[in-house]
Symmetry: C2
Subunit: 766 residues, 2 copies
């Protein structure tokens, strides 16, 4: 069954920028973030962090802390009742350090006390005797013969490969080759709300935790293991969350809260301050990418190879998948017949690298888009045309040899950028307005992004829809809306399918006791995967309702629109959805449906990396216009033009919001943000030192939505969360190169670095 | 698919008396009843009740109340934003009286204030000017020509009929006839917890109400209508409930809480005190039953007719169905070829009659069991044998002409009583130990009870089962466990089906936002209907799991037992349920299933009452042994022997608990409990005046469970909640007749009545 309006080519709710379901709650200040939730008799939790990057623990003396008035409990590893090992894919993390610390943020002890001040004092009073170990500060050092082992199994966490065609024969046909090493830096998610949560024991003896998280179900599993209790005795609920961007994809505070609640039997709140968040929580990996590309003189890419060294820091988290994804995407949204990439996830004693918006592809795109621009320059082809000449298309194989016959949107995004560039005279005019010290330039950044997890990793969505007796709807899904807008999207889908008002849907999400597990919010998969579960549940309900309406109206050609069901042939034959709901209820018909959508793919061959890795890709291109001050190295981004292939924009305003937020994040990533680490120690300790773009730094952003539908997506929709960010940084870097002829291969392109590069080069070519 | 252990004729969890899921919470005092829930800034609600039974409201002056310090709001009918009419089947009730009051408990105004004391004072300060109307105190007066109309549509709410065969021709074959009029009295549910609840506005602007209720979903519908908002903006949650017995089947405090929360925006608690509960809340109807039965001299019932006049009081509630059910069941669990019954639900100005455990059949059984004993005496046949001679059986038609071919358990219950009577010499011996003033007697009571609603009334159950990644289970159902034990039963079903530990199931119930609507807890339908939904959901999950296990183990003949899956042929081929859950999760397989079970039947012919009214019946028989003090009229019940056809006792201890509780309630109903009403005014105002049996009054109770399975019930189970109570009262009345030769036709058989009857008769025949 198709959506009734679909054939009419107009939707009542899909494609409309309805206001978000959470808008009012947030504007009125009534939304409850973890820190807004409190309970009588509540304790405050604090964590003692290692503070040194690599050491043997010889002794932990908590006696002073335990003796302090107002301290309810002090816990170390030996107090853990369950298994003190966890991790999503690799169980290499410790809830509390046992005999060793592997990075500065390593948790060593927990305190819960009557006030936060006492907790801080108690933490400071704990004495730990360390025997320091050599600090491994980069992957090469970690992989060197005889390097000290951070984990017993060795410092190499994962080596993954892409082997497509024959790169040597490919390069033998190349007329030009470009070879470079790119070094991306460590950045933080820098969400408004740091990691936080609160837990308590409910009236049935279960442990309940409200927290800022991306997947309460996976967090539950990890809490259960460490606490030594069954998963169904732990209830994890997403509190309203002030940003996540992958930083709350790994578990953050939940295990520690669970341990403190379990030990004290009292409510415990645990909120990380910014410095602790910087120190201990996951980061976007610093990745070193060496890559060589070859093209023929007629502008066709013929071969590429690469080596990716990801600095994991001390533990796996989701990081091995990040580095792998970086390698898989290193050839960009282009058809290249011969590819060889090796990716290495390597343990070090730096900060903990794991998921962040872009998930390895943000780093890959910096490399592949720089490569594309350099090749275009060498071949004297317009960089945008060069991209169009090589862009992936239906029938052309991806790096893993996968071929799609629909929904390949990269060309459409490039065409949109081209159209804007041609039409918008200010872009051309501006370029000519540079002065000797203020150089203007434009640059293009493109990307593709495998939606969802791929590689046979479990990738499911689920939703339950229940129709009330008056035709209003309750939608339940375990999916997390941490601000990206999925709750709104889901309600739009239900409204569209049932032909009812968007406001008539109540959504309940992300509570392990009351909503079905819909997997994590990550990998730009939420609309694409869980959106389908919502769609299927809606359609299942509609089937039941349709049959009753057919019976009552004596008509077969019924449509559900405008809160009514009517016959297309005889429009006067109609009834309200409300009335129909009541009739269905009275007949004992099924008013609730649970749907499950499985997006789990097959795995690829481990030796070659070949196979159908993803069920679909998302695509985006951006143009950045910059002005570079050659005297200071300062870059002003003047404008971002984005063309994002949303497949189908279910809520255009929300897609635009993603694009705008992504662009700002991409600018910060490229130019100013940096978590500085020296010999494993954190040097960036506050948002004052960590330069995220302010409102004054944000340029005009033109968010164009391109729609190249993919049949598996709901209404053709693809994810846009990560595609919004990934093209920005390379576009800005390419614009800088355009402006001053300097290619930044070691990020960020901040004043210091750019100033140095410009000086090294002498004045730019313009 | 059958349960794996079913064929082995032993279950791992079904049929075992596991301890109840709520036992620990209640024993430890941590279960939260509505009154245990509080919120900051909470107000206390109070209701002004009419206090007079029938009057026109001329004026309501709330000015003094509104002016009182600490009063947050005072509401009358004119403040109601939605539709001030509600009711489950007939919309004849008013949330607040508009221009008329129809009984003493009628709500007239609401107050919310900072303390309960202020609220009480404020209520007292409201001045209402009434113009009194004539009070209609019984159905005959109400139906008399020219009687004042309580409702515009007239005083007859419902007339329902049973017409089977030809009673005249039936009576023409009768050798003996017995004709009597029985008058049952008004009683209260007298639960430990009175009607109570608390409401607030949640962080999304929804109204949330926790209350002691039997169906949060139906309550939600009624609150929504009066408040004028959609059902999905109201969340009703069952708080732990201290008994309901039908008294919380109609809505109690929820609408008033909703109105006060809506008006003030603040949390409001509303708890009725016992006097208010007695005054205003629903009661078991006083019913007058005239009936005539005929039998042939060989002991075969040949004809019966009856007229049932139910005193509804002022409003319908569920009461019309109660009176109808009384009429349908008036011929008892016997095959009678010719039946004619007319039932009249009649409005009066007495207290509000509606649902109470037994639902009309408790009253019917008093009549039919007295009739049976009198006929047996006239025919000189042992009363138990006479019942056996006439008991319904497979292939014999019920009063509505319905024929069952399985699961007809009445004979089995009588045989069990017979067996006990024969075996237990103390029963015979005791009878001979009577003295002149202390007479002993025994009596039999039997009954049948249509399970569920029947008559095409919506009768559904629903459940969602989700398997956690570690194989522990979360079960969600909208069904209410108000103390009868259904949460435990549901967990047993899941444990049995999946072969896991009962403790490994977490159950979440009765919350309109988070659990699927499973219909009300009433009509002894919960195990029978919603139990099936739980069973189906379990089996759906099991199918998925089985296919993965078959694949992993390479075996087809798998059984799920002892937290393992193993091959029956090769028992060493096995894996743990926990491991299997993880494997299924990793494959992206569906871990959550929602099942819906529809027990809605067809309706019967309105003129004849003939049709397949119910999907099954429950059966029970009891024997009561009493000692009557002929000088005082005091009755001591010495023993109750109960034989209850549970179909399959899923939790024998729980069935026994139902039987014991039911028997105590039946004794109270027969002997001591009475809500006295004079001219519409309540005379019984406290539990001190309302004589429920104390622990000293409770006899030895032998709860025998008989199992005559019905294929539609889960594992053959039938409901036992109401069958536990219904036979007790007639058994006690028949035992009194046996002891002192006096038949009580006007209840209760309290000291006053029995003393009078014994005196009127002179000494009894023994």
């Amino acid at each position: 069954m198709s959506t009734d309006r679909e054939n009419l080519e107009h939707f009542s709710c899909i494609g409309h920028s309805v206001s978000r379901v959470d808008a009012l709650d947030k504007v009125l200040g009534r939304a409850l973030y973890s820190e807004d939730i409190s309970f009588p008799n509540m304790l405050y939790g604090r964590v003692l962090r290692a503070g040194i990057p690599h050491a043997i623990i010889e002794e932990i003396d908590t006696s002073a802390a335990k003796a302090m008035k107002g301290v309810a409990c002090v816990l170390t590893a030996k107090d853990i009742p369950g298994i003190n090992r966890y991790g999503i894919a690799f169980q290499d993390q410790y809830a509390l350090a046992v005999d060793r610390v592997r990075y500065v943020g390593e948790p060593v002890a927990l305190v819960a006390s009557e006030t936060d001040e006492i907790a801080m004092e108690a933490v400071e009073s704990i004495r730990v005797k360390y025997q320091e170990l050599p600090v491994i500060t980069n992957p090469h050092q970690a992989l060197a013969e005889g390097a000290p082992l951070i984990h017993e199994k060795g410092n190499l966490l994962l080596h993954s490969k892409v082997r497509k065609g024959d790169v040597d024969s490919g390069f033998s046909r190349a007329d030009v080759t470009v070879e470079n090493t790119y070094r991306t830096h460590t950045v933080d998610h820098a969400y408004m709300e740091t990691e936080s949560g609160i837990g308590r024991i409910d009236e049935h003896g279960n442990i309940v935790i409200w927290s800022a998280n991306q997947c309460p179900f996976r967090d539950r599993r990890q809490v259960a293991g460490v606490l030594g209790i069954r998963e169904n005795k732990i209830r994890v609920i997403r509190a309203t969350t002030g940003g996540a961007f992958g930083g709350k994809d790994d578990i953050t505070v939940e295990i520690h809260i669970g341990l403190l609640v379990q030990a004290t039997g009292r409510p415990v709140r645990l909120v990380l301050d910014r410095q602790e968040s910087f120190l201990s929580q996951t980061k976007r990996h610093a990745i070193e990418i060496w890559t060589r590309w070859g093209a023929t003189k007629d502008g066709k890419l013929c071969s590429m190879e690469g080596k990716v060294y990801g600095d994991k820091g001390p533990y796996a988290g989701l990081g091995a998948f990040v580095i792998k994804k970086c390698g898989i995407h290193l050839s960009g949204p282009y058809y290249i017949p011969n590819i060889k990439v090796d990716s290495y996830s390597v343990y070090t004693n730096n900060l903990f690298g794991s998921a962040m918006r872009g998930f390895g592809v943000a780093q890959a795109a910096i490399a592949h888009e720089s490569q594309m621009d350099e090749l275009a320059e060498r071949l004297a082809i317009d960089p945008l045309e060069f991209r169009l000449m090589n862009a992936l298309d239906q029938g052309l194989s991806t790096p893993t040899g996968q071929v799609f016959y629909e929904g390949v949107g990269i060309k459409a995004t490039l065409e949109k950028i081209k159209e804007v560039r041609l039409k918008d005279s200010s872009l051309r005019d501006n370029l000519e307005k540079g002065t000797k010290t203020k150089r203007k330039g434009i640059g293009i950044g493109s990307m593709f992004y495998g939606l969802g997890y791929g590689f046979s990793r479990q990738d499911i969505g689920a939703a339950t829809i229940e129709i009330c007796e008056d035709g209003s709807v309750i939608l339940r899904s375990g999916e997390v809306d941490y601000g990206q807008g999925s709750d709104t999207i889901f309600c739009q889908i239900v409204a569209e399918e049932l032909g009812i008002r968007y406001d008539d849907i109540q959504i309940v999400t992300a509570d392990t006791f009351t909503t079905p597990n819909a997997g994590p919010t990550s990998a730009s998969r939420v609309t694409y995967v869980t959106g389908n579960a919502v769609l299927q549940a809606s359609r299942a309900i509609k089937e039941t309702f349709r049959s009753v309406a057919e019976n009552l109206l004596g008509e077969k050609d019924l449509v559900f629109v405008d809160q009514e069901i009517h016959s297309e042939l005889h429009p006067d034959k109609k009834m309200s959805f409300k009335k129909l709901a009541w009739e269905c209820h009275n007949r004992g018909l099924q008013m609730v449906q649970t749907a499950w959508y499985d997006n789990t793919t097959n795995d690829v061959d481990t030796e070659t990396g070949q196979g159908d890795a993803y069920s679909a890709f998302a695509y985006a291109s951006q143009l950045a216009e910059v002005e570079v001050d050659t005297e200071t190295g300062r870059v002003d981004v003047l404008r971002i033009v984005s063309a994002t292939d949303a497949g189908k924009a279910i809520n255009p305003s929300n897609v635009e919001g993603q694009i705008e937020g992504g662009a700002v994040m991409g600018i910060g990533y490229g130019l100013t943000e940096e978590i500085k680490v020296q010999q494993g120690s954190l040097k960036t300790r506050s948002l004052g030192e960590y330069m995220i773009p302010t409102s004054m730094d944000i340029p005009r952003i033109d968010p164009h939505i391109v729609e190249v539908p993919v049949s598996r997506g709901p209404y053709g929709a693809k994810g846009v969360g990560e595609p919004a960010l990934i093209p920005t940084t390379p576009a800005v870097l390419n614009a800088i190169a355009d402006a001053v002829g300097v290619r930044v291969t070691e990020l960020p392109a901040n004043l210091e670095n750019l100033h140095r590069l410009i000086r090294e080069k002498g004045e730019g070519p313009k």
